[in-house]
Each structure stands twice: as C-alpha cells, then as structure tokens.
Amino acid sequence: MKLSDREQDGIVILEPKGKIMGGPDATLLNDKLHEIIEAGQKRVVIDLSQVNWMNSTGLGILISTLTTLRNNDGELKLANVTEKIQSLLVITKLAPVFDSFDTIDDAVKAFK
C-alpha cells in the first residue's frame, strides 16, 4: 500500500493505493493518523478508489482508524468505496458503522 494525503476545505483526504493488508500498512496508516491528530485535525476522509483489495487485517486497520478518530472527537468518512470493499463491509455488517459516500466531494460536504 502507498499512502498520500492532501487537504480539501480543512479536511484531510487520505489516499491509500494498492492492497490494504496487515503489518507495515497498519503502521503506515497509524503513524499518519497520529500525525494528523497531533496537528489538530480531526476530520478525515479515506478515498478508497484506488484500493483494489483488502483482507481482514486491512479491515481491522480501517476500524482502528475510525476508533482512534472517534476517541479524539474526530470523524471518519469513506469515499469511493469499491464493490469489493463494500461487500466486505456488508458481510461484516460494518456498513452502518462507516459513513460511505460515492465521491470525495460528497464526503467533504457531509462534514459541513
């Protein structure tokens, strides 16, 4: 997984690319997240358009991100959730837990 980030209207957009799996990916995302929180940011959108695969650990990373943000009074929204990840969210019944949007703009707007 590669991870880039940018800001749009005061909201951090994280753009992972590739497969989200365990190990280094978790560390990478976790470190980035703490960086964001320490910088005082609390609202994060993860753009999943370029994530083609995610295993159970990858899902764990998403859950962990959500929890960390919530514990810091922040909020996480997902954008461009691919069909594969959507079905994973459905099966695990986490779909209601995550706010998912079709586009980044929609996700950003939802914070307003």
């Binding site: 159970s56 962990s64 099966i91 986490l94 837990v97």
Partner: protein
Amino acid sequence: MDIELVKIIIYIFTGGFLSFLAITIVRDNLGNRLNRVTSAMLLFAGLGPLFLTLATIIHQSPQASTGFTDSNLFNMQHIWEFFFPLLLLFSWIFPEDRLREFRHPGLKYLIFIPQVIHLLLMLFFTTIADLLSSFAIDPDATGFSKIILVPASYLFSFLLLIISFIRNNHIAIFGSLNILYILTAIYFLESSRKLVTNPRLITQTRMVFHGIRFSVGIYALTFLGSLLFQKLFSDTLLSASYMLSSLTIAGIFAYATIRYQLLDVRLKFRQSFVYTITSALLVGIYIILVLKSETILQPFFGAQSEVLSYAFIILLLLLFQPINGFIDSILKSLFIRTRTDHSTIIERFSRQVISLFDPKKLRQIIEDTLKTSLLVEKVYFVLFDDEIGEYAILQSDDFSKRVALDRDDLMLRGINLLDSPTYLHSLSDYMADSQLANALNERKVRLVLPMKDANHMLGFIALTDKVAGYRYSTDDFNLLGVLSNQMVTALTNARLYVDSLERTRLQKEVSMARQIQLDLLPSFPPDIETIAISVHSTPSRTVGGDFYDFIKIDEDHIGIVIADASGKGMPAALMIAQIQAIIHSEVNNGNRISTMMKNMNQLVAEATSPEKYVTLFYGELNTKQGEFHYCNAGHNYPILARSNGDMELLTTGGPIIGALLNMEYTSTSVRLGPEDILFLYTDGLSEAMDKDENEFGEKRVRDLVCENRQQEACDILDNIIKEVRAYDNTYPPRDDTTIISLKTNSKLVTTNV
C-alpha cells in the same frame, strides 16, 4: 679415563651450557629486565665450573706450584657466587616485578657487596698482607712517628687480624651468607608464586621453583655437611654434589625456556639453542671417536688398523648426517612443537572452537589461549549485546559488573575504525570524555584487538600487559591478527547457533500451542442420527485463527460455531481461545443467542484493540425437527441449499465481534428439511486465488454447493476442496480455511410442531 677427566668434561659441559643459555636469552630479548637478570645469573653459575676446570687443568700440569690454591686463577672461581645475589634479584622480579615499585632502584646493587668483598679478599689478600707487613713499626721510633704510627700500626694489625680471620674462614662465612641469600630468595619466590594465575606461568614457575629449590637445596646440604662433618665429605663427593646442583639449575632453566617459553624467548632462538648444544655434543663425540679410531681398531685388525682407520673416519662422517637428522626430529617432537609455537596455537585454537557453540565457553577458551600462548596477564571482552542493542564490557574476575556503553562513545568509535591489534595509548585522540577509555585505563588495558566481520564490529578484546613485563613482539601482533579472525568466525557461529536454538524453542512452543488448539477443537464431528456432518480445517501456519465447535446443549439441541479471527498465527490463535471460552460459558448460562453475542462482543472489544476482531457465526440446531436458530456476527454467509433447489444465505446477526463497543445483535430461525445442506466456511475458501490473483469467490462456492446437492455431506466437502485446490494450489494455504458441511437425512421429523 680417570675421574678427574670425567669431572672436567662435566664441568666444561655445564659451564658452557649455562653460558650459552645465558647468551641465547640475552640475544633474543635484551629489553626485558627479567631476561637480563636470569641471563646474568646463569652466566655466573656457569663461570664457576669453567674456572674450576681451568684451575684443575693447571693443577694437573707438571709446572703446578705447591702454592697453587692461592693463585688468582683458582680464586677467580669465587666469581660464581654472584649467582646468589642475582638469584635474590630474580626472586624479586619473577613472576611479579616487585622492583617496579621500589623507590631507590640503585640500592638493590647493595646486595652484591658481600660477594664483591669475598672476591677481592680472595684475589688481593696476598698483596694486602704484604702491604700491611711493610707497616711494621721500628720499635726505636720516637716522637711524632711514634704517636701517630703506633696506633695506626695497631689499627692495621687489628684490621689484618680480622681480614685474616675472614680469609681463613671464608668458606664458612660467605657460604653461610650465600645460604641466607638462598633462603630469602626462596621465601620471595614462594610468596609471589601464590599470586600467579596465568596457566602458562603456573607451569613455568612450578618447574623453575622446584628446580631452584632442588638445586640450591643440594648445594646447601653439601655445604653445611662439609662444614660440620668434614671427614665424611670427600672431595669427590663435594664436587659431585656441586656438579649435580649446577647441572640441575642449568637443565631446569634450559627446559623451562625451551619447552614452556620461559623468558619469552622466541622459537627460532630456542631452536638454535637446542641445535647448537646437540651439534656440539655430536661433534664432540665424533672428534673423540676419530681421535681414538686407531686404538679402537687395533685389537681387531692389528697391523691393518692404520689403513682401516681412514675408512672408519669416512664411515663415521657418513653416519654423522643421518644421526644428526634423527636427533633433530626427536628434538623437534620433544621441544619445538609446543603450545607456544604460533602455528600450533592457531591450529589448536581452531580445533577447539570449531564445534563449540556456547559463547561463554568460547570466551573462556579465547581467554585461556591468550593467557597461555602470549602470557597476557588479563583479558577483557567488549561485545555487542543483541538484547540491549549496545556494546558492553563483560564481567571479569576483577570487575564483577557489566558495563553497557554509549553507542556514541568516542573511544568506541575510534576502535571501530581499527583493523588490527593496536596499542591503547595510540588512541589518545579518542580519550576525551570517553566512558570506555576510562574503563579501559582502569583495567590497565594495553592493547585492543578489534573483531570485525564484513559488516560490523562484533566487539573487541582488551589485553593488559603480559606477565612479568614481557613486551608484545611483532610475532605476537601477527598471531593476534590471525586469532582475531578465527574468533570472529567462532563468535558468529556461536551466535547463529543460539539464534537457531531460540528459533527451535519458539517452534516447540508454537507446536505446543497447536496441540492445545487441536485439543480445544472437537476431534471429530458429533454422531447424530438425523444429520451427517463433515469438517475440514487447515491452518495456514502451525496455529490458526479459524475456529469451529459443536456444543451439546441438551438431547435435542446442538450448538454450531464457526469463526475466523483477524490476522493469522499466534495472535489470532490466542483470540480464538478466548472466544471459545466465552462461548462455552455463555451457552452454559442459557442466554438468548442475541444477548450472548452482545456480551461476547463487549468482552472482546474491551479486552483487545479495534483491529483485533472475530467474524463468528453461531447457531443452535434442533436435531429432531431441524429448526436452526442463529446469529451471524460479520461472518461469510453460510449457505443453506434446500433439497428442492432453493438456496438461502444466513445473513441475520450483527457486526463482527470485538471491533467496536455497544453493538446490537439480532437472531433468527430457519427450518431445515430432510436432505437439506448447510454449508459453513471461512474466507480462506472464498478468497483462494489463482496465479493471476483472481479470487475463487463466494459465488463459485455457492454454485458448487448447489451443483453437489445430491452428494453426501462428506463428498460435497471433498469435491469443493478438490475444486479449490485445482484453482489455488498454494501450500500451505494463504489463509486459514475451515469448512463445515452438514446434511440432514430423512429421519428428520418434518411435521410442524
């Protein structure tokens, strides 16, 4: 041959041997005080017999005068008594150099005074006596000369009296003094011998001390005996015991020097010494044989002996070379191939460490090797500690605390730049504020020996001075260089071995964990009249994160669990164990399924971090009537394939267990009819991949179940596994895979309750 001749030969041999040994020692290592003292001591011990020989030869010559015993040449033999003060000096510096701390080094020469007096007395007494007799006072002298000269004359006469007393009893007086020297020397030798710890030095000192004691013991006994029981001790007995005494001294020092490298004399000098002595002996024998050839041949060949003697000389000449070679090889095996020969040290060291994997023992061998072969006084190890990730000075006999070093320590960096053994004082640029430098100075370290492999420094060995003040030679440096390479290899091997031991231990623990896990899983599916159950479960590692269970609730009800913990291996297996315990206790409590799942989620979510979760399906099946009450907590949908061709997915439930707190769960019921199939699996099955990384997929699983609906439970399972293996033949599978295949039969009661 008469006894006098034997005596002379032995005297010459002993004297020559001692002098030659003395020269050999000095020639190799003049810089060392111990060598100088020992050499002088042996030289003087050798001078005694040599002067005696000369005196005896002169004595035997026809021109010998009756007053010969007073001749200067004969009296020169007393020069050998310098042996005693030198022995005392030797005892002060071997094996510990006590003189180093002596404040007035010049004072030590005072111990030579009695021997000097003795020698002077013996050499010049006649002159002094003449001189004094010339002072005889004219009894008619008056006035000034009488006032001054008469007391002076008395004084001189008194002095003369004392001197002549000493002169007449010189053997008893100076002999006793010498014995006093011997006793003092033995006292010092014994007291410092107790301090010796170096193994090689122990052998050396033991040998030398016993030799000295034996030799001077004989001397003292002979001397006292001859003094007290003059009649019992004939001249022959006296000379025999003196000879034995000096031969012992000579032999013991020669042997200790050659064999145990006493005095640190280099191999080539020890060799040359041995060869010279044996060659001299051989040549001596050869010359005697040649000189006597005619006499030897005379009885056998009579008149022809003169001609034959030439042939005999040539024969001897021909024999000389092979005999010399033979003796040479004997000497080599006896003396030269000793533990101090460098190639032997290296060979021995590598033989010892090649199969040694205990780092502690290895360090012991390194330490012993350095102490024995190089006479190093103390050896300290500074090694990289994998556990703390820093270098540390290891414990030693005198410093019981291990000292961890700062990675940025200046001296450590300095040593890191080295490639070969280096004197510590040449690293003075790195001393400032260095904890390591202080510690090394405190330990009196002289030399550091870095141990480097291709990538980094394993550490270094710190060596103090050699014992008895010997210096490190160029040869020593070469040897240390070679040894350090071998040590690096040995230490690396030992470390790899410890690593592999640790791995083996972990593997053992994991396989124990696997056994525990297997024991927790039902060994085979329950035997139920109405239902056939088949199970397949393969972990992708030794222990897995998949879990299934059948829990008997009562006669008619059975609980069925299938679960998959996030991640793999040990962490997943530990979560599974926790889940299993919770399920069993919840089932025993008789809670409703939805409550049970909620409780379980709460317990796991509180205990673990959010990314640790379990997808879990739990259902309770009425084995008589086929009613199945279940809750699906985020697990792959189990497939219910009806006998009539319908297919349902069991989706009702709630989110995965353990990810988030305060989740709600719902449960629902389905009714199984005869010949219905319930197929439960974990995502290891559906996420199998072909070589292009296309997933096997849930749809394919469903289709396969439906296609195989006519088959028995076990055949359905086998067929699907066959299919998936054909699709993805990775072994072990990428992910833990568990499948439960369950098929009801016609014995199921189909009437509505």
